[in-house]
């Protein structure tokens, strides 16, 4: 008792001296518990750093040796930073507000260094691996199914799915893998077939709307979709395997529907070396639906994909090599056609088509620090894409199979790209960061109907941008200069402005200039038959766009729960859009010319909230698409607007180790003007529309023991197959009067196995 009393007295005498001017303590405003690990920087009022470090286990940081007044700054992953001036040598206690980390993901697209969504100067939307997983999504197409401002369209003839963003077509949406364009049949990053992109080793999908031309160059007028691959893992060895079986509409069984098998192995070889290998087989047996005989409504598609990653890490340097492989076979079975041989024998036949795609992408990326650069990264990639289309005549009696001889029946198109680039980051003063980068693209494209069979595109670019922080403002000007062997120089400015309204609220203004390179097809196409004389135009200029965006984000607490809201407006104005036109030099020919104008404008409002085990998001968008026909007839609407509604709901039953997830999107009707003939035989302008439709996916996942997880899901719950298209005018090639969306409601079951070895 006496000892205790003594201690107390001594302590009460000594404590004021010990604490006096000696330390600063941080505690959480939420639960008053002291926070260890807060990064603290003390500097003079003139900005010279005196002292920095992190708080100890009791949340204290010593102020020993500090001259006052001094400026205190903090950083912590889970708490908002503070800046304050300490005027005298005394004991300080600061309450730190927990940040809303649940909703705030780290993004890299267009960033100087990994950055939170909220603090990014660009508006970046993300879909993370967990969300991909919960949806049972295998390909990018499935993952983007309920994304706002994104619409997918299917080409049943060649089995591809392309994307439009902000009402702008896929030729202007650039798909990147770790920042490097994904080469595909139609382009270097743009026009990609989303069904060919598997998400097995994808950590996160980052979507930035608006041209990211300063950083990513051409063909991103609408925006970029950057797939961030998995490179980190926790355990020494991780093994995963998945089996997934899916019906196609009501077609089910081993020879129907879709069957997916995948394996992945991650292994840490040493402190510095790690490797990841994965493979996936996505076997879609086709959907016959209302097709008869040998034919399918949705053609069978068999995909094998694989990835490999070898990574080297030290404190100041990391590098990886990644390989992505795709092999895809799409078979299109023609219907039985009657035929009598010269001898009068009945020998029906069918014309079948095959599309074989192969893609190898090699990528080396390195990142590190040097004495004069805060950070640098370098990449080199080589992609080799080949698509072979073959057409066969099958004698259905003798089973003889011969290649047909029509023009264009057999074709191999190739696309090879070397992409090299790098960027360095400097921080000459505290509130200014600079980025300097270069990029080289060397493309070689070959195939039938390409003049001389083979053409090339070379582009060299340098770019720079700065991030300048001024109180609550962050200003990011950027500039890119490119030289292209086909159409010369481009100078592309961009400007982003972010203003912090409060700790969790920001306003962003953005302006960007973008361009789309004429595709090799547009430059060098050749197609002549009795009805067509189409030639590419080597003198084409790029399509150019101006993009304006305004964005407000706010994250706040609603009855103790995290809510974030995002209000966004955009306007895109594309000039010199390339369209097919009469060749002024030879009126018998048609060619590609820079003549069209296109604009889109719109707004989106989205809300996300997490209430304990329930997370809900709701988004609305309203996009107007320009009608160029209005330029000649001002009584016609300049824009047709179309709404979208998107909502994801997820609930966790923690005790049952179960989650239930719903993914919904309403895609509004899309109107357009088209020519039609009325009852009196007069031709008139009418408004046609592609019907709107609702899409819903639902899944339930349940963990079974330590290693297994079972998932049951339904895709396309509303059983949408085709939507009506009333906007079809007559003509030689009037398409169908409906637009294919999917093959009807389908169900899937997925079994996952995970083994982690420490």
């Amino acid at each position: 008792m006496a000892n205790r009393l003594t201690c107390l007295i001594i302590a009460s005498i000594l404590l004021p001296f010990m604490a006096s001017g000696q330390s600063v303590t941080f505690y959480s405003s939420e639960d008053n518990i002291n926070i260890p690990g807060v990064a603290v920087q003390i500097s003079t009022v003139k900005g010279k750093t005196i002292k920095s470090g992190i708080t100890d286990a009791s949340g204290q940081f010593s102020l020993k040796g500090v001259d006052f007044p001094a400026v205190l700054k903090t950083q912590h992953l889970s708490f908002s930073p503070i800046i304050d001036t300490l005027y005298q040598r005394t004991d300080y206690r600061f309450a730190l507000t927990p940040t809303i980390t649940d909703l705030d993901e780290v993004v890299v697209t267009g960033q100087f260094s990994p950055q939170s969504v909220k603090n990014s100067v660009f508006r970046v939307q993300t879909i993370n691996a967990e969300q991909i997983e919960r949806r049972g999504a295998i390909t990018l197409q499935e993952a983007l199914q309920s994304q706002l401002n994104i619409r997918l369209s299917n080409d049943l003839a060649i089995g591809s799915t392309t994307v439009s963003l902000q009402g702008i077509s896929s030729q202007n949406v650039k798909i990147l893998i770790d920042g490097v364009p994904l080469v595909n049949r139609n382009g270097n990053g743009n026009g990609a077939d989303l069904s060919q992109i598997n998400l097995q080793q994808i950590e996160r999908i980052e979507i930035v709307e608006g041209p990211m031309a300063v950083n990513y160059g051409a063909n991103a007028l609408a925006g970029v979709i950057n797939l961030i691959t998995k490179k980190e893992f926790k355990n020494r060895t991780e093994i995963s395997a998945n089996l997934q079986s899916e019906t196609a509409g009501d077609e089910i069984g081993p020879d129907a529907g879709r069957h997916i098998q995948s394996v992945g192995i991650n292994h840490r070889i040493s402190d510095r070396w790690s490797a990841m290998v994965s493979g996936l087989h996505n076997d879609f047996q086709g959907y016959q639906g209302s097709a008869t005989g040998r034919t399918y409504e949705w053609n069978p598609k068999d995909q094998w994909t694989g990835t490999g990653l070898l990574k080297y890490d030290t404190e100041n340097f990391s590098a990886f090599y990644r390989i992505d492989v795709l092999s895809e076979l799409i078979e299109s079975f023609g219907r039985q056609q009657d035929n009598y041989t010269n001898e009068g024998e009945y020998q029906p036949f069918a014309i079948d088509e095959e599309y074989k795609s192969k893609r190898f992408s090699h990528q080396v990326q390195a990142e590190g620090k040097t004495n004069f650069l805060d950070r640098y990264n370098l990449f080199a990639s080589f992609s080799d894409f080949e698509r072979k289309s073959s057409q066969f005549a099958n004698n259905l009696v003798t089973d003889e199979r011969t290649l047909t001889t029509g023009e264009g029946d057999q074709d191999t198109s190739t696309y090879q790209v070397w992409e090299l680039g790098g960027a360095g980051y400097l921080k000459p003063v505290d509130n200014l960061s600079l980025q300097l980068g270069y990029q080289v693209s060397l493309e070689s494209v070959g195939g039938g109907r390409i003049a001389d069979g083979d053409q090339s595109n070379e582009e060299y670019a340098v770019y720079t941008s700065a991030e300048w922080e001024l109180n609550r403002f962050t200003l990011r000007p950027g500039l890119r200069y490119t030289v292209n062997n086909n159409y010369g120089n481009q100078l592309l400015p961009a400007m982003q402005l972010k203003y912090g309204l409060g700790e969790n609220a920001n306003v962003r203004l953005s302006y960007g200039r973008g361009f789309r390179s004429p595709s090799v097809r547009e430059l060098y196409f050749e197609f002549v038959d009795s009805n067509h004389r189409i030639f590419g135009n080597p003198d084409l200029q790029p399509e150019k766009s101006n993009h304006f965006g305004v964005n407000f984000i706010n994250q706040y607490k609603l009855s103790g729960q995290n809510v974030s809201s995002d209000l966004n407006f955009f306007f895109n104005d594309i000039t010199d859009q390339i369209s097919i036109a009469q060749d002024p030099a030879n009126v018998s020919n048609t060619t590609y010319v820079n003549i069209n104008r296109y604009k889109t404008l719109g707004g989106t409002l989205s809300q996300k909230a997490t209430f304990n085990k329930l997370s809900v998001s709701l988004g609305l968008s309203y996009i107007g698409r320009y009608n160029q026909i209005n330029e000649g007839a001002s009584d016609l609407d300049e824009y047709f607007f179309s709404p979208e509604v998107s909502s994801n709901i997820s609930y966790q039953f923690t005790k049952l180790n179960t989650s239930v997830n719903l993914f919904y999107k309403y895609t509004g009707a899309l109107q357009s003007y088209f020519a039609t003939t009325n009852d009196q035989g007069e031709e008139t302008i009418s408004i046609g529309e592609i019907e709107g439709y609702s899409w819903l996916d639902a899944t339930v996942t349940k963990g079974i023991g330590q290693h297994f997880e079972l998932m049951l899901g339904a895709r396309n719950v509303f059983n949408i197959q085709r939507v009506n298209n009333s906007g079809v005018s007559g003509g030689a090639h009037s398409g169908g009067s409906s637009v294919p969306i999917a093959f009807g409601r389908s169900y899937f079951v997925k079994l996952s196995y995970n083994l982690n070895l420490k």
């Binding site: 029509g406 009126v587 048609t590 003549i595 020519a675 005018s729 007559g730």
Partner: protein, 363 residues
């Protein structure tokens, strides 16, 4: 059984006719109508160089090279001249009546106006020229209406017959057949044709007599010679490339060249389309079904409706529409059911290799 379309067959018919004529019966020869056959008209593959006329009851075909003739002189009561539709020929009058004074200056603008590819191309131009809406008047009406030809009725008053500039259309390989200036006059119960190359200061002249066994007497401007066609009662349907008119936009119809098109002998043949449904199939159809059909004598009653082609974004390839067949009342008033079996060659997969099957409906 297969019928091969060769002139030999026609020779055989002639011999047969001769033999018959020598028999006791001196009246008109009534060959029994063919019971039916499988026929592969020799259209000639993807470039479709031939027009193939089919006589169902005689089980014969007659081949004319589609770029082997230029003008057809009407043998009916009116004085009319047609230009070659299958090659997409176009003709336009100029305000002159003296061929020798016509020069290239008189044809300014016609390089685009009278060229099917150029007309099509204007639709993609920055500004669609006003004349595009007139373009279909510079070709003959595709339905064969003799009152709507590019060249106006040939007047008995010589001075009213203007000079026409004729683009002779395109060869099967796509090359142009050249341009001529021409003028047609009445000449008794026939015609006088004067023609020359555009820059020529002289011209050639030929006289053409009407021949009522034929709808038209056809002339090849390469040599001024008459070209042999089947007699007007000796064909029912004809396979050819056909320059049709399609509406393209709200204000514009344009000429468009169709391949694998089937024309009826409009004045003499009627066609009904039968949809396959339930019990109604080609095999089961017999004469009792004819009464409920609606027949038309439209030129394109078969047209392009019998086949499908590949089009962008569609999985559908070229082939026949197998959900329908036809009933044809031929020039001899026989009723035949007719079903297309194929559009493309079963080995090469190329178009211009149609085949059909037909059977007599016994009354």
């Amino acid at each position: 059984m297969i019928t091969k379309s060769t002139l030999k067959l026609w020779a055989a018919v002639a011999v047969l006719g001769f033999a018959s004529a020598c028999s006791d019966d001196d009246g008109p020869i009534e060959e029994p109508a063919a019971a039916g056959a499988v026929v592969a008209p020799a259209v000639g593959g993807p470039d479709q160089p031939n027009q193939v006329f089919v006589d169902l009851s005689a089980e014969e075909t007659y081949v004319v090279e589609r770029n082997g003739w230029d003008l057809g002189f009407y043998s009916g009561s009116e004085y009319r001249v047609i230009i070659n539709n299958p090659t997409s020929a176009f003709a336009r009058a100029i305000d002159k009546t003296d061929l020798t004074t016509v020069t290239a200056e008189d044809t300014v603008g016609m390089g685009a106006q009278l060229d099917i590819n150029a007309i099509f191309g204007t639709l993609f131009g920055p500004q669609v020229p006003e004349w595009v809406s007139e373009a279909t008047t510079w070709m003959d009406a595709p339905n064969g209406d003799i009152s709507q030809t590019a060249i106006a009725a040939v007047s008995a008053t010589e001075s009213q017959n203007q000079v026409y500039i004729l683009n002779r259309g395109n060869n099967p390989d796509g090359s142009n057949r050249g341009w001529v200036k021409l003028r047609v006059l009445q000449n008794g119960n026939g015609y006088t044709l004067r023609y020359a190359e555009i820059a020529s200061e002289t011209y050639q002249e030929i006289n053409i007599s009407k021949d009522t066994e034929y709808d038209f007497v056809s002339i090849d401007l390469d040599n001024g010679a008459e070209v042999s066609f089947p007699k007007k009662n000796n064909w029912d349907i004809m396979f050819s490339v056909w320059t049709n008119v399609i509406p393209f936009s709200a204000t514009t119809s344009i000429p468009y060249s169709y391949k694998d098109f089937v024309i009826s002998n409009t004045a003499r043949v009627e066609v009904a389309v039968v949809e396959v449904a339930g019990d109604v199939t080609y095999d089961s159809f017999d004469f009792t079904g004819v009464g409920s059909l609606t027949f038309t004598n439209d030129y394109d009653a078969i047209g392009s409706g019998w086949r499908t082609t590949s089009s962008p974004g569609s999985d559908q390839g070229p082939g026949v529409v197998d959900t329908q067949f036809y009933v044809i009342k031929d020039t001899g008033d026989n009723y035949y059911k007719l079903k297309f079996t194929r559009l493309v060659d079963p080995v090469s997969g190329e178009r211009g290799n149609a085949q059909f099957q037909y059977d007599l409906l016994v009354q």
